[in-house]
Assembly symmetry: D2
Homo-oligomer: 384 residues x 4
Amino acid sequence: MNRAINILGRKLRLGVIGGGVDSFIGTVHRGAALLHEQFEVTASVLSSNPERSLNDGKTLGIPRPYATAEDLFAGEKDHPEKIDLLAIMTPNNSHYELSLQALDCGMDIFCEKPLTMTLEESEDLAAKLAQTDRIYCVAYAYTGYAMVRQARAMVEAGDLGELRSVQCDYIQGHLAELGDNEADNWHMKPEVAGESLILGDIGTHCFHLASYITGENPQDLCADVTSIVPGRTAHDYCGVLLRYANGARGSFTVTQAIAGGIHGLKIRVSGSKGTVEWDQESPDELIHRTLNSPERRLVRGGKGLHEAAHRATHVAMGHPEGYKEAFANLYLDIADHMLARHQGQKPEPLALWYPDIQDGVDGMKFIKAALTSSQQQSAWQALG
Amino acid sequence: MNRAINILGRKLRLGVIGGGVDSFIGTVHRGAALLHEQFEVTASVLSSNPERSLNDGKTLGIPRPYATAEDLFAGEKDHPEKIDLLAIMTPNNSHYELSLQALDCGMDIFCEKPLTMTLEESEDLAAKLAQTDRIYCVAYAYTGYAMVRQARAMVEAGDLGELRSVQCDYIQGHLAELGDNEADNWHMKPEVAGESLILGDIGTHCFHLASYITGENPQDLCADVTSIVPGRTAHDYCGVLLRYANGARGSFTVTQAIAGGIHGLKIRVSGSKGTVEWDQESPDELIHRTLNSPERRLVRGGKGLHEAAHRATHVAMGHPEGYKEAFANLYLDIADHMLARHQGQKPEPLALWYPDIQDGVDGMKFIKAALTSSQQQSAWQALG
Amino acid sequence: MNRAINILGRKLRLGVIGGGVDSFIGTVHRGAALLHEQFEVTASVLSSNPERSLNDGKTLGIPRPYATAEDLFAGEKDHPEKIDLLAIMTPNNSHYELSLQALDCGMDIFCEKPLTMTLEESEDLAAKLAQTDRIYCVAYAYTGYAMVRQARAMVEAGDLGELRSVQCDYIQGHLAELGDNEADNWHMKPEVAGESLILGDIGTHCFHLASYITGENPQDLCADVTSIVPGRTAHDYCGVLLRYANGARGSFTVTQAIAGGIHGLKIRVSGSKGTVEWDQESPDELIHRTLNSPERRLVRGGKGLHEAAHRATHVAMGHPEGYKEAFANLYLDIADHMLARHQGQKPEPLALWYPDIQDGVDGMKFIKAALTSSQQQSAWQALG
Amino acid sequence: MNRAINILGRKLRLGVIGGGVDSFIGTVHRGAALLHEQFEVTASVLSSNPERSLNDGKTLGIPRPYATAEDLFAGEKDHPEKIDLLAIMTPNNSHYELSLQALDCGMDIFCEKPLTMTLEESEDLAAKLAQTDRIYCVAYAYTGYAMVRQARAMVEAGDLGELRSVQCDYIQGHLAELGDNEADNWHMKPEVAGESLILGDIGTHCFHLASYITGENPQDLCADVTSIVPGRTAHDYCGVLLRYANGARGSFTVTQAIAGGIHGLKIRVSGSKGTVEWDQESPDELIHRTLNSPERRLVRGGKGLHEAAHRATHVAMGHPEGYKEAFANLYLDIADHMLARHQGQKPEPLALWYPDIQDGVDGMKFIKAALTSSQQQSAWQALG
């Protein structure tokens, strides 16, 4: 069944801002949107250089390529076949403005993280969104993996009991050496990427993933955010301790400066009855430890899974699904939500398991609290 | 860069025969073709029921849905915007006829394996193909994985030295129990699927993968092909011993009847200087053992890889790529070959690393030799 | 509790023939015997050089060092504190004679594998042993691992259902290159080590391990035994296909010539209800796959194990036990059997899970059948 | 070669206090001491119950069993064949007194950790020891693993470059549920085991292991030490952030309350040139990541290792060594040191790689600093 065709008689129309023709994030978003035949890429702004943006859109065969974001909003706002969803993958300091304009044009939005530059912007954006019926997804893409959803479903079902501890590590290696021109990389510039490279780039993923699976934010944190590579000004390391409302504890160790690091995103959530462990480098499995029986290895497509995992599964057990498939699951969720709204129905609950604006706001709260703690000799900070 | 748009001014047009709307293989082919923005799905026959075929094509938003294969060939043969490539994923006993018709219509072809029902048909098809400039890819899809290509590139570059041994296991579990109505499953019917379920369904993958990586077929084999589940008539197990021309040896252990088996496709190729090991359940890594230094774990997107691996890599190191991405690499290769031909140029050599008609023929030789050996008390058979 | 002290008022006395002071196998046997405080090393012949043998015995602080095996038998036969157990770890062509002499002296025996040079010798030895109440253990030491015993116990308990298939691989690397003076290595000399290096050295381990876990020998086999390293005369590779009485199938792939190979002993036993997999390089775990529930990882000392595994466990879960501990379990079994016999009692059944003379005889049957098959173009041979 | 016999003409004499006949730690110490044929167990106090202590010593065949520690010191002090080494494995609150008495008797000492109840006691003991030539080893036994020594040797050799970060996790499960009578367990009683269960029991292992490998102590730490299981008073969790003098950072996550946890001791040490990762559950391997080449898996007994690893290796590559072998390496080091001292020589430098009194003192500093930080809202504390 193709729900978009069935309900609308056409595929959903995606516009993209940012993400060049061959860029990592551009090919991921476009490929993920196409994968399940619900979306077509209808409009684009593919470069901050207007001429290149137009050319690149043509090169991809996109029906309505635009030179600039302004052109896109102007061209689409009243277009009879206006794009349904706008994917924003520009540098972080433009997310807020572009989101506001997209809302103004009545578009649904899929925005890269971190949501904005400041918590205030995020809260303002959330407030404005709340006055519309628009859909807003923040690209915490690891939540699209079937086995991450299985972990969350296990917590929800009580399989793990009461929360006792959380550990999330994100250990990458591409910044292990000081680069020649780090200042030229927009990810390194606080005025473009936000105040803390490590927190905005990957620390926020740990925070979101932990909250996504456990179903709750920690209450307080203490953090040490710094650079461990001599000569670097941008943050490349953070250590975080967490306290939850019920007394559970947690920790994050996050860095991009491990020599030889690969991807290194792992999470362990432990409760009074059981523990789950997930590693993005082996995303199709979830290790489940229990009090009184041997460790189980749950595999995507296999036995003993919750519906939430099956729903995010598209090839048979043992045939791997990867990062683009995780991303594609977010696009599917958004599509399901859009189509239900079109029909005046509530989306099925599992379709709402994409990360939404509140997750984006919470991510900014985390960044703010971690920075504040670190600036105050790692004093505990409430997450508010 | 989008090569199809650049060269043709349009995306390539794919037609599909077989593979229902939500079927495993159908969603894999269509999604894989769409993933890199080179193809659009233009025409379809999605069911052996003509009415359903038409409806399902409409449901997927396919521009030219057909009721039957006959209709597709009739409709496309002289269409001004004829499909460029036909993907055939029907039951095995139709591959030969559909391929001949597609050739007759001047289409390139991407056909599921096994190529045909008999070696004779395959050889005939290959002979007819040789009189055209059509492209023919056989869906030995595991060859689309970047690290399988790395393994082949290492052999070609002499990294492993002279071939000494090969082992390929394919250990699945979905036939561990006798099904209620196995006779109703077309995979189980010799007249539809071919004489030997296990050989045609997965044994041929082992054979192809070993030849793909080593660059040569074994010279002789001895085999025991049977069913290990009481009451089953279709073959569900084969053990094979192999001899290569230079004295190297090999073995295959292939079954779908391992209780709890997942996917279980693993291969080890060993030479005088080194050994590589690959497991489809962890496809982004290749273990490399050497005579005089520690074992190395090569990872897709990482250090120390050949160009062939990079060419098949589309997301950064540590972000997994899965089965659909492997399939998508075959579609990319085909596209590159098609576009080079269009320009009157030779394709770049690595674009020809998709499995071609000769691989399909060799697969049928393997099936025939293994069956003959098994029928003759596992006497050694030349592969011819 | 120390059973030997409790029952005899003293530790058991071990004599060793072969295994130099710092040799691999010598330190393994002596350390394993000492580990659980049941044995002391009382007598020794540590070298084929009589003077060195005496000196080395003194160097180890062994109370009764001998120059030669003859001296040992002469000195011990009527010694009031005669050794209880003789461990034989000399080259293979002496096992038969030394065993006969030890029997003649009324000693229990722990002999390295392969048992003798020929099947006839083994059968003769077994017949002579049967006329005594002596204990004879053959050093198929992998059977001492707790998780191998768990696997066997699962088969016995019916946890895996009816046998369907077995696969055992033994993939080492130390003979990947042709050595300078291979002819000087006794393991390579047929007149010292037996007709086939690969079969006697490690192939026989696969055979025994498969039979030990499944509880039965295969009925027939077909084999290809050869050398894959050019210029080598000793066998370094064998591929074997197996058939069991009930129609189950099996395979062995065994070689010492994989470039970069480490140890590589793995076995998978699969039945109608479940499958177990064990890898000697991770000996404390046993993977258990089942028809209808997720894969379980059983760990030594953990939940869900049979008594046979607990009995062979001596440190807590998660603290690894290795090769010497496996060996030590055989010594413990032998001690338990010896002490029960001393008390005129039957040993507890699990104490008899050490590999005995029949296992040694069966190993010789395997070697003979595999060689015969290989010499007859891999024709199937009954194991008889 | 047996060094003790060669140099002394006899094995070294070990006395043990604590560790019952079948207790975990008792069998580990005694077996480890026996394994390499350098020690014999000569004297014992095996229970706090005098009668049982005597009986148990007899049951183990120990030549000089004693009823109490007092008896042992009295009996051994002037014994012509006095024990050389005393292994202390009693509850923590007796380590200080027993150590002082052993020193007074001129014995070398191998004491369980934590060293004493307070930092002050430890510093006093170290000061008294410094006035003797006695050898003092603290049982941080994980340092006996060959691949831990490889890691340290790599740091020393500069293979990893300048220290950048350290992470050590110790994640066990045996306290995941509140026990019925936790108050009766001496490990849970502050007056017997020390103020903080988690810090003294396993946190101190993380601290030592990190310092052992990196060659330096962190400068400051901040910690959150608590119980995460409702109703428990003893600490079962700690999270620790670390700062090193050069700006490197670190973290520990340590708990015994993970449902289904097994052993879970892992460490990663990362420098400017490379990273090593070690997991006690797979102790024979060390993962080595580097800036510009693929990940390497170093294995005990394999290629590319430093002498320190070879020295701690006793069976061939691929045959596992476990926890007792690690412990046995500490006994070997002590023996080497004792024998060199006997000869009036300096021990070879690698023989001094056992954990000594300073490591014990540093462990107490860690416990004190972590507790203080935790009591002060995780304020940073110097380790000073």
